[in-house]
Every structure is written in C-alpha cells, then in structure tokens.
C-alpha cells in the first residue's frame, strides 16, 4: 500500500490464517486415519496410522452417493430458476411502469431480513395438504422464492448504472419491452447474473433447515451429515469423509468464483460504495 509493509503485520495475519484452517486440516487428517488413531487424537502424526479405508467403505455405510445426487439436483434446479427469473423481474421493476410497482418492489427487496423459520410452519402444512412433502419441489420453491429478496436487489443495483441511452436507442429502433430486455439488457447482465448464481448455489447447497423438514427419504448431503452428527456412531473416520464430501463442491465453487462471490455479496448486502 504505502511504503514497505512491516514484517510483523504479515506474521500476525499468517498466524491467524493458519489458526483458521486447523479445523479443516483436522477433518482431513481424521478421514485418513484408523479409528484407533483418531481416539488418540488426529494430531499425533508421528504415531498414527494412515489409511484410505474410510474413503472406500463410507459409500456403503451411508447413502452418500444418493444424497450427493439429491443435493446436485435441488441446488441446480433452484439456481437455474433464480438465474432465469430474477433478471427479468429486476428489468421490469427498473424500466417498466405498472400498478403497485413500488409496493411490490419494497416488499421484495426488504424480505431479505426474514428468518427462514417464518416459512416453515405454513409451508409444512401446505406441502402436507398438497402432498408435496418429500418432493424436490417442496424445497426448490422456497429456495427460489426466498432468493428474490436479494437477487432482484442485486441485479437492479447493477441496472442503476446501466446507460439509459441504450434503452432509448432500442425503443426508437422499434424494440418492445421484451426484445429490449432479451437483446439489449440481458447480454450486459452476465456478471450480476453469475454473481446471483454463485450466491444461490452456495446457499442452497449449504442450508439445512428447509431440506431437513421437507425431505424424508431422498435427503440432501447437508441433512445426511446433520443426521450422522447427531447419532452415537463410532465411525469418526467415515463421518469425516461425509463432511468433506459435503463441503467439497461448494468450497470449490467458492474458491473458483471468489471475485463474483465477493462482488455479489457486497452489492446484495447494500455495502457497495
């Protein structure tokens, strides 16, 4: 930044950084050791025995592959739906005039404060009545509906800096609102839509409450892990593998798309300056 960075600063940040990943190292080490070694403490690297046993057996012990597939299906469906519908909504709210526009906008963008707990009792009753419990849709619908609160806000913030002249030019050339959206606005919305997609993907994959309540037989990875964690199951090495598998995909997405994730988070939190 300015001048030379004092070495102690790098040192302090380095220590905190290393402290922060110790739990992650712990879980990886646990997954690679025998149960006897884990009971002694995973950090006794000198004496402990390492084995890949847990990584082989876990697929038979827990329905890991099935849950992985459920997580992928739910998350992709919810992410795709948000990425398709939220930009259209943001465009409509930003450029078109229609009755009760401002009221809807205010309700939607302020809904981001709502706790998920508010939706579970009514939706549980509703899904039970219409027979949607244990159906993927029971989770995907609230995932998408709740995402509008921040997704519409995120994309609309981006549209605020979008040149009005382009919209105007399209209108003069005879474009209707829909063609203006698909041919002028949409091609320029790639980066906020990508940010939305990444935030939504991480949230849907990682969240526990809704899938835990609305899914029964085909459960997502996060729910599976929560179930395993609550039992007195001695197979700590296999549990660790399950935790790593649960964390791996979102962590990879997160690390790959850090920039979009950071930008999306700053804007949707209202922290953009």
């Amino acid at each position: 930044m300015v001048g030379r960075a004092p070495i102690w600063i790098i040192f302090v940040v380095g220590i905190v950084g290393c402290l922060w990943i110790i739990p992650i190292i712990g879980i990886v080490a646990t997954s690679l050791q025998t149960t006897d070694s884990i009971a002694r403490g995973w950090w006794h690297f000198g004496e402990n025995e390492f084995s890949l046993q847990a990584w082989y057996t876990v697929w038979q012990t827990y329905p890991l592959a099935g849950s992985l597939w459920v997580s992928i299906k739910i998350t992709l469906a919810a992410t795709a739906l948000t990425m398709v519908t939220a930009p259209a909504a943001a465009y409509v709210f930003h450029y078109l005039r229609f009755p009760m526009r401002r009221l809807w906008l205010i309700i939607i963008i302020n809904a981001f404060v709502l706790p998920q707990q508010v939706v579970i009792i009514p939706l549980f009753q509703l899904w039970r009545e219409v027979g949607l419990l244990d159906n993927m849709a029971a989770v995907v619908i609230p995932f998408v509906g709740l995402s509008y609160a921040w997704a519409v806000f995120l994309i609309k913030s981006f549209l605020e800096d979008f040149p009005k002249e382009l919209i105007e030019a399209a209108r003069i050339d005879g474009c209707g609102p829909i063609r203006t959206f698909t041919q002028v606005v949409l091609p320029n919305l790639i980066s906020p839509i990508a940010a939305c997609g990444i935030l939504q993907f991480l949230w849907c994959w990682n969240t526990l409450l809704l899938p835990m309540l609305f899914l029964r037989s085909d459960i997502s990875l996060t729910v599976l892990l929560a179930r395993i964690a609550g039992t007195y199951d001695p197979n700590l090495d296999q549990q660790a593998v399950a935790a790593i598998v649960t964390a791996l995909i979102p962590l990879a997405i997160f690390l790959l798309f850090q920039k979009q994730f950071a930008a999306g988070n700053r804007v949707s939190s209202g922290g953009k300056e």
Partner: protein, 319 residues
C-alpha cells in the same frame, strides 16, 4: 450516481418517431402493453415469492393466535400463546441465550475480520494467501462447521482443545466442552464466529481499500506508525463497511439454526437453545404449532427491530 439519468429521455431523443403512438405522450410506450408485459415477465416471480414469503408470513401470524397441537382441533386463544411464552422459563432462557449468542458472534467475528482487513491493507499482496485461508470458511456450511468443531470440543483425548490443554500443562481445565451449559454456549459462539468471519473481512477489506491513497501517503510522510494510522485514519474511514458487516452478522446470528442444531442440538438440557431453535423444537418435534408460531413472531419482531435502519434505507432507495 449517473448525472444524465433523469433527463436522458428528453435530451437524448431529438424527435418522436411517428406511428408508434401519440406524438406528445409523456412516457414511453403505450400504457396497456407495458404493464401487460410487466406482469407477464413478473408472474413467476410474484407467484413463487407469494407462496414462499407472503403467504407464510401472514399464516404464521394467524397460527400464532391459535392453539394447535398435532392433529387435534385448533382453538382460538388470542394472545394466549404469547402470554404463555413470557411465563415459560425455557423461552425466557432462550431469549437470553439468543442475546448472548448474537452479541458474542457479532463482536468476535466483526472485530477479528475488521482487524485482519486493516492489517492486510498494509500488505495486500503478501497476505493474500492468509486472507484466503480465513475467507475460505465462508464457503463451508454452518452444518459442516458445526460437525468439524464437534471434533475439537470432543471430551477425552480425541478432542483437539483438550489435547492442547494437556500438552501445555493445563490438563486440569480439560473437560467435555459441549456437556456444560456455559462452556457449550461459548463453544457455539466460537464455532459460529469461525464460520462467520468471512463477511466482515470481505466488507471491511473493500472499505479499507477504498480509502484514497493520498490520505494514507500523507500520514506515512508525516511519520505515522502503522498502528497509529490504523486507529486514527483507517478505522474511521472504513466504518461504513464495518457497519454493514455488524448489521449482517447480527441478522444472521439472530436467525441462527443450522449451527445450533448440528453442534449442540440445543443441549445440554436446552441450555443453548436460541429462539430460532426453540421455534423448531416446539412446532416440528412437539407439534405445538401455535406456540412455535408465536415464538417465530417474537423472533421476527427482533429481526425487524435490528433491521429497521436497513429497511428504511432500502425503502427510500426503491425507485
């Protein structure tokens, strides 16, 4: 703010094309097609949003005035559920737990995140790998974080925390951390802070980086030491980012559920139940739907109180 925004239409358009409507209408397009198109594009959003937000909020409020136990006949009790909540020692305990947990997580994670962000500003490139190591927990779900930390707080030799205490000669402090009421709450705060620190780090770092270089260079020329610069210049100037971080961390820890469920499941003896967890337990495991709904409304009121400034700001900005 784009300066050309409000009058772009008038100044940028020299003439009105004929044949697309009346020549001197004030707004673009015909009124009817425009709002028809608007509703066409909005239908899926309004539909899904209504099912998953508007209906549940109204319905939760309604249910909170009824006593519904399992499949029995519901009976209207007015504010009875609320009266019962505030004479229920368990619920009053969860209010206290929620307060401690929320404040604890916010203070710990924002102060660590902000401090690291300030330090990193002096050497952004050299610290980027360490920043990533801290930031990475942001991509790990609360459920996985809870599971990982169970391993650290495990009783006996297998728990890392007890292992460290024994190794440095403080073995008498080793204990089953998740087994005691106070230590379990502390464990919960530590775990939640570990997983929540990413957002404060991200927002404060963006805010620190936005400080004009000239100000920092001037301070450096005047011989200010890093800590002095941090305290007198960078802390006040990065306050906006930190303030947003405080708000968002307050909001998310107030609503916490996943991490409580996985790490302590509210135990031991309901000592670490937050309001968000109490509501789940009452309505989804005890099937006291009305009672659980009333607790949810209390949580909602708390959330709305915390978010009033943010809601006011968004509402003002909704153009």
């Amino acid at each position: 703010m784009a300066s050309a925004k409000p009058h772009a239409r008038e100044s940028g358009v020299p003439f009105t094309p004929t044949g697309t409507g009346s020549p001197n209408r004030p707004r673009r397009g015909l009124a009817l097609p425009e709002w028809t198109t608007a509703f066409l594009l909005l239908t899926p959003v309004i539909l899904l949003f209504s099912i998953s937000v508007i209906y549940p909020v109204i319905e939760t409020v309604r249910i909170s005035f009824w006593e519904i136990r399992g499949l029995g006949r519901p009976s209207f009790v007015g504010l009875g559920n609320y009266a019962r909540l505030f004479s229920d020692p368990v619920f009053l305990g969860t209010l206290w737990t929620t307060l401690i947990f929320t404040l604890g997580v916010t203070i710990v994670s924002v102060s660590i995140g902000w401090f690291i962000a300030l330090l990193c500003a002096f050497a952004p490139r050299q610290t980027s790998i360490f920043r990533l190591m801290i930031f990475a927990t942001f991509g790990i779900s609360e459920a996985v974080a809870g599971y990982i930390w169970i391993g650290i707080f495990r009783p006996g030799d297998a728990g890392l925390l007890n292992g460290i205490l024994t190794a440095i000669g403080l073995g008498e402090f080793a204990q089953p951390w998740l087994g005691g009421a106070n230590s379990a709450l502390i464990a919960l705060i530590v775990t939640a802070s570990w997983s929540a620190v990413g957002l404060p780090l991200l927002l404060s770092f963006a805010s620190v980086q936005a400080i004009p270089r000239s100000i920092l260079e001037a301070a450096y020329m005047d011989g200010a030491k890093p800590l002095t610069m941090m305290w007198h210049i960078m802390v006040p100037l990065s306050l906006p980012g930190a303030r947003v971080a405080v708000f968002l961390t307050l909001l998310s820890s107030l609503r916490a559920f996943d991490i409580v469920f996985v790490l302590t499941a509210g135990g031991p003896a309901r000592a670490t139940e937050t309001v968000g967890f109490f509501m789940y337990r009452e309505s989804m495991t005890q099937f006291n739907l009305g009672y659980g709904a009333a607790a949810t409304i209390i949580l909602l009121i708390g959330v709305l109180l915390v978010s009033t400034p943010a809601i006011a700001q968004r509402t003002r900005g909704a153009k």
